[in-house]
Amino acid sequence: MNTVSASPRVGLFWFSSPQTFFPLAGRMVPLFAALAVGLGLVGLYIAFFVAPTDATQGESYRIIFIHVPAAWMSMFLYVVMAFWAAVGLVFNTRLSSMMATAIAPTGALMTFLALWTGALWGRPTWGAYWVWDARLTSELILLFLYLGFIALQAAIDDPRRADKAGAVLALVGVVNIPIIYFSVQWWNTLHQGASVSITRAPSMATTMLWGMLIMALAFWMYSIAAVLHRVRSIIVARERRAEWIRELLAEGRLK
């Protein structure tokens, strides 16, 4: 069973073998976690102690340092999830499908966080926690797509069938990503357009933009660490009949 995709040749599919990928991912988790913590601390410092008060929104704009990175990650993670799901579907590589499964919970949490912070930002700026605006509605649909993907896979016992069903759902849902992204241009939305920096004074825009970019990078590193940690657990669960994973267990190298 474990030999299906464990191709002996080194090449494009070398790391598509769970056995090869498992220890590599294990080494990468602490690295990305450390990067996330470091960038997060720098980002938070800029967000609260360097970036000045906004002329029109006062201090409420500081939500941006969470809101925009979470929203970016929610869309980016979906594209990556759909990509791995598609690779798993086309090349029949189990690890690709496991990656898609591992990304979904982090993506769903990022989407929820984007919606939550958006609501808390909308109240002081628009006077409402929620409006049925194109941007907000399409982001809510994204949350349902993630939850649908997770629920669908959880409902199917056979992992390979769950991979395929999930992949189809993920690929159909990709159409929602450009809708979210371009919603502020296609429709007359209450949600502002892209890039907060253009209309502001340069000195202010710079520190705000840097804070936002560093926080986005921190969220990115965090997501990679979380996904790699989760995919290792999925490998342990799905490869438990394989000899190599039992050897790792016997050597006490599974934590």
């Binding site: 201090e59 500081r62 966080l113 002081p124 438990r240």
Partner: protein, 57 residues
């Protein structure tokens, strides 16, 4: 950015509920995910141990 005092910092210019509500939820989300990752790993390893023990006996 000079806040003057910690009271001013925590007050966030009157937007404390919205700003800290956002950052607090971010913290909660991360805490929940880290806990969930830990549970998932423990569950997977326990299942593997059970399977291995069963196949040996």
């Amino acid at each position: 950015m000079n806040w003057g005092s910690w009271d001013n910092f925590w007050a966030m210019g009157g937007y404390a509920f919205f700003v800290w509500g956002s950052y607090g939820m971010a913290l909660a989300i991360i805490a929940i995910e880290l806990w969930q990752l830990k549970v998932r790993r423990r569950h997977a390893v326990t299942e593997l141990q059970r399977d291995t023990a069963r196949s040996r006996s």
